[in-house]
């Protein structure tokens, strides 16, 4: 097993998403025709099939809609993170995205937990959007 962290491959389709993350911004593909934001990243709007979606910055806030806790590592890189949580977050704007949840013990995670985006820089090209519990009043 490789010790390296598996990383997304940047393509013409997803470049805008990762470029925004590197600037510490969470963006979603956005339809210029019907104004919806959506995920996963796609070449057209999945709701109206309009071409050439652009990117829209979103609030970065949402709620945990489901989560799992890995107790076994399938890539060597994740071994020293065990146990680690992967959350599915429903953004306030609608789409659901996956990420890790920081600053909370895995056993304290609950569905419905309000969260906000934070960023984990991996290298010059890749910064991963991650989440942490929403601090009220901020």
């Amino acid at each position: 097993m490789s010790q390296e962290r598996p990383l997304p491959v940047i393509t013409e389709q997803n470049r805008g998403y990762w470029a925004a993350a590197a600037r510490q911004e969470l963006v979603m593909p956005h339809c210029t025709q019907c104004d919806k934001v959506f995920f996963p990243i796609a070449p057209v709007c999945p709701f109206c099939f309009a071409a050439d979606p652009d990117w829209k910055k979103v609030s970065g806030r949402g709620r945990v809609s489901s989560f799992v806790i890995f107790q076994q590592a399938f890539f060597a890189f994740f071994k020293n993170r065990l146990p680690y949580a992967v959350v599915q977050v429903e953004l306030d704007e609608g789409p659901r995205i996956n990420a890790n949840l920081f600053d909370l013990k895995p056993e304290e995670i609950r569905i419905g937990l309000p969260v906000e985006v934070t960023f984990e820089k991996v290298n010059d090209e890749i910064t991963l959007p991650q989440f942490r519990p929403l601090v009220r009043g901020t």
Partner: protein, 390 residues
């Protein structure tokens, strides 16, 4: 009026290789063993096979070359269990349309050879790196690296929504192993108590080791022919009575019933979209004598029972815990032991079991008077089989 494919095709023969954690064989070697067994079962010779449909295990042309086949109609499907029933559907339609007469449908898996099993290292063609996530919801850069993660995500949501318990999920794991212990082909032969289940370690919480399929090597061959031709062959025909296709789109997630709200699925409390498989087979759901579903992870059994309407949303978990899916229960499920314990064969060993049940060949695990059996999995795909022409 449209042409009706009901019971126009039948399964003439089934065969398997040995199932083992590591057979040390290539997929083509294992397929040759399964094909030989299926030919013996049907009474056909290799020269009678004029169609080759490969779900997994190699390239159709290399395979035909090495196995000495001369086929006039070959097809190559995607390397996934969800293509099992569609492969058989296409074979059934092809023989009914006269494009071929005897189609060998084959599947082989060699997870041991791939290294690391699913979800890590060089497993399964690096599917976890695909655009938008892997085919079971994987996203490796977040450590979401195993096909079970999609099922775990769905079960977490399901139990939150309906208050289902881990003990109820454990009933899937223990019942399936009970069935496997009656199947000489099954890799896992021992039974487990609920206490054993609850003591088994978490792999991807809330899923435990005993919620996950065995990882193995093996091959299956199913020979499909026309209903007329099947009647002249060695064994009693098993008719492909009704079919429903693989659904796809934002409402669908491979390891969650529609409406649960996993990944981009809209969340709704509405019951699953009704399946068309029953009307197409000309049966009622109550006519189903046994249910076979893809069970790589135990929540999938609960989800399939709801998706196909045997239970209302949220009611399958307690229903399984009451023992309704055991042999002798209201609806025996996966009497072969399924992926959880017979072996991970992409749904193909389920087809073998269905055929043997409908012929009455299953000994201690025989469903009494089995007449109509259903295979199904998430995303709506299903075949209904019968030993009578429905």
């Amino acid at each position: 009026m449209t042409w009706d494919p009901r019971s126009k095709a039948a399964i003439a023969g089934v065969g398997t290789s040995q199932f083992a954690r590591d057979t040390g064989l290539t997929t083509t070697q294992m397929i040759s063993n399964a094909l030989r067994a299926a030919l013996d079962d049907s009474g056909l010779a290799i020269g009678d096979i004029d169609g080759l449909y490969v779900n997994a295990g190699g390239d159709f042309d290399k395979m035909a070359e090495q196995l000495g086949m001369k086929v006039g109609y070959a097809m190559q499907f995607w390397t996934h269990g969800r293509m099992c029933a569609p492969t058989l559907q296409q074979a059934a339609l092809s023989v009914a349309a006269g494009l071929a007469t005897h189609i060998a449908c084959v599947y082989s898996i060699d997870i041991s050879e791939r290294g690391g099993g699913f979800g890590g290292g060089r497993s399964h063609g690096h599917e976890e790196y695909r655009e938008g996530g892997g085919t079971h919801g994987e996203m490796a850069h977040y450590g979401l690296t195993h096909p079970g993660s999609g099922a775990a995500m769905a079960w977490q949501k399901y139990r939150h929504r309906y208050g289902a318990t881990q003990e109820q999920l454990g009933a899937v794991a223990t019942t399936t192993r009970e069935h496997a212990s009656l199947n000489p082909l099954a890799l896992m032969q021992h039974t487990y108590t609920l206490e054993d289940y609850l003591a088994s370690r978490f792999v991807i919480e809330p899923l435990r080791l005993l919620d996950c399929a065995v990882v193995n090597d093996g091959a299956v061959c199913v020979i499909v022919t026309t209903a007329e031709r099947a009647r002249d062959l060695r064994k009693k025909p098993v008719y492909i009575a009704g079919m429903d296709g693989l659904h796809a789109g934002r409402d669908e997630f491979v390891f969650a019933p529609p409406g649960l709200g996993i990944w981009q699925q809209p969340e709704s409390s509405v019951a699953a979209r009704p399946s068309r498989v029953y009307e197409r087979a000309g049966v009622a759901r109550a006519d189903i004598d046994g249910f076979y579903c893809l069970d790589s992870f135990s929540p999938l059994v609960i989800f399939a029972l709801e998706e196909f309407g045997f239970c209302k949303p949220g009611e399958a978990a307690p229903w399984v815990a009451e023992g309704n899916t055991r042999l002798g229960g209201k609806l025996p499920v996966n009497t072969n032991g399924g992926h959880l314990s017979e072996g991970m064969l992409g749904g193909w060993a389920h087809q073998v079991e269905i055929v043997r049940q409908l012929r009455g060949e299953c000994g201690r695990r025989q469903i009494t008077d089995a007449r109509v059996l259903q295979f199904a999995m998430g995303q709506g795909v299903s075949n209904i089989y019968s030993n009578e022409k429905l």
